[in-house]
């Protein structure tokens, strides 16, 4: 590599970066321009060619049907991802404490519970959705926010705990020990040291949870049976009708549905990278 000058190298980096950005932007681009086409244009012009006469009719038509599911998704997904990430982080810290514990029984407990959590994460939720639906039906939770929240909490706390465990694993042991020596209890250590030091992990987990929940199709499909009262992925799917598909409306719906995860990624992604940089240099004296 040394035969390349630094400028050439930097240029190559930028080029590769640009190529990836373009690849990732293609779907969004396609969604937007095809959503702006008329019903005739969308089937008669190539996918990547923008419309001659852009119109918002498709977006308007779709919006009237997506507004409630969008709001539902926001109400369910955002608080649940926050709660799941927070509880997941606490659980992960608890496992960390158990795993470094001096008591063999606690060590054993840690391994056992951790295996259970990993199992809960890797088990397809489709496998347990029927008993869950029956429970929720008995409790009168079908078609309610509570029902969706309960299901998501159930399925995504283990995921968050597992993800956070990976970020906890790299916490410098001495720093946690130092906090103990300094007379700090587990809760204080968690809030004052563990959370600040794992912010990148917490935000990554949060983003992951938001996107996973936001795109989860199966759970709302089963737990909601009123067409307009469901969550966004099911509502979007309804545009792919049984009697033919309105492609321009499908594209518009897909775009509206992905705005929120996109925004979250754009805004939190910045903090994510900043957090990563801080941790990378901040650990200098504390290997």
């Amino acid at each position: 590599m040394s035969e390349f000058g630094p400028t050439v190298k930097a240029f190559l980096h930028q080029l590769i970066l640009a190529i990836f950005v373009v690849i990732w932007l293609i779907p969004i681009y396609a969604m937007v321009i095809n959503g702006l086409k008329s019903e005739f244009d969308v089937t008669s012009t190539p996918v990547f060619i923008p419309p001659l006469h852009p119109s918002l009719t498709a977006f308007a038509a779709v919006w009237s049907q997506l507004d409630v599911p969008l709001l539902n998704s926001v109400i369910v997904v955002i608080p649940v991802s926050l709660v799941a990430t927070f509880i997941g982080a606490m659980a992960a810290y608890y496992f960390y404490l158990l795993s470094v514990s001096k008591r063999r029984s606690l060590n054993f407990m840690s391994n056992t519970i951790f295996s259970l959590i990993a199992l809960a994460t890797f088990m397809p939720y489709q496998a347990v959705i029927i008993p869950l639906t029956r429970i929720e039906a008995n409790w009168g939770l079908l078609n309610t926010y509570g029902g969706a929240i309960f299901a998501f909490i159930l399925f995504y706390i283990p995921t968050a705990a597992l993800l956070m465990s990976m970020f906890m694993a790299v916490l410098p042991r001495d720093i946690i020990d130092a906090a103990r020596i300094d007379g700090s209890g587990d809760l204080r250590t968690f809030f004052r040291i563990v959370v600040p030091l794992t912010i990148p992990g917490i935000i990554s987990t949060l983003i992951f949870n938001v996107i996973e929940m936001w795109n989860n199709f199966f759970i709302p499909l089963v737990l909601f049976n009123v067409a307009k009262q469901t969550l966004i992925p099911v509502a979007v799917e309804s545009f792919t009708g049984g009697y033919g598909t309105l492609y321009n409306e499908s594209f518009a719906a897909a775009f509206l549905a992905s705005i929120i995860p996109l925004l979250i990624f754009i805004f939190l992604g910045r903090y994510f990278i900043r957090g990563l940089v801080t941790l990378g240099t901040g650990g200098k004296g504390a290997v």
Binding site: G183, R192, A286
Partner: protein, 353 residues
Amino acid sequence: MVVTVKLSKVTKTFKKGKRNVEVLRGVDLVVERGACMGVLGPSGTGKTTLMRIIAGLEVPSSGEVYFDDKLVSTSNRIIVPPENRNIGMVFQSWALYPNMKAYDNIAFAVKNKGEETRKKIEEIAELLDILHVLDRYPRELSGGQQQRVALARALAKDPSILVLDEPFSNLDARIRDSARALVKKVQKEFGVTALVVSHDPADIFSVADVAGVLLDGNFAQVGSPLELYDSPVSASVARLVGEINELDGVVEGGKLRVLRGVVERRDCQDGNVKVGIRPEDLRVSETEVQGMISLGKVRVKVSSYTGSSFRLVVSPLEEEKVELYVNSDRPMPINSEAVLLAKPEKIKVFKNN
């Protein structure tokens, strides 16, 4: 409240896969209230493990740990957890909290956060010369400053014991001396019981009242640093405490024969022995010197300057393979010949093993 630390027959065994590794084997230790004990030992002998057991971060496999008369740890059980032991600890890695400014790092250890605490922290910072960096993050501090912040954090809470694990190992030579002097001064000023761990004897000599040499999981010798230096119980201790020339010798009827020299040694049994002579107890000269005995003629192989004195490497004329380090107040031409002299009372005799 400053305490006396007492360890009684402490052992520690780690499981490494199927194998058990016995790191500490029945360590007995007393550090009197207000004293500063230095622990010397090669890498991997369990110095950090010993500190962690005292701090309550590690549980002894057997034996007891007392603070004054209070039992704090016993076999496989921690009775007083580390958060209640009131220990000031400087970790080998310093372990500053990267997300907090220096001031908050120090204040984190202090229970009450009033104006009084602020004053106290500033006083300690003043003493340690870090007052002007209190509002910086650890990553914005030099190594020496980080080390002093760690020390300030350990001191700010009025610890019962101060535990310093290789506190100087990450410092460059220039600030190491001042850091040592500082630790000593602070320890005496605060009157706190202290344990300093190091593999560098210079650290121990500059800060400790009492020193112990940890070898193979136990203290091979405990005494004043001078005692360890002048009358080590074994060649390994002698080697750890300072530079030493090791030679083969024979004792016969109260006389020690080493190289071409003969020294009266009534305290030794007959037989082959190891002989240790420190470089400063040797001298090369053309003439006899009062109070020194001759070990025979040597040839100078290397002559170098070491800051304040000259350092020679010499070999006996008839034994080119043997090399000895000798301190000298003047340089010598290479390949010149001279007589090697030694202070007889400083010659150390160890059992052959």
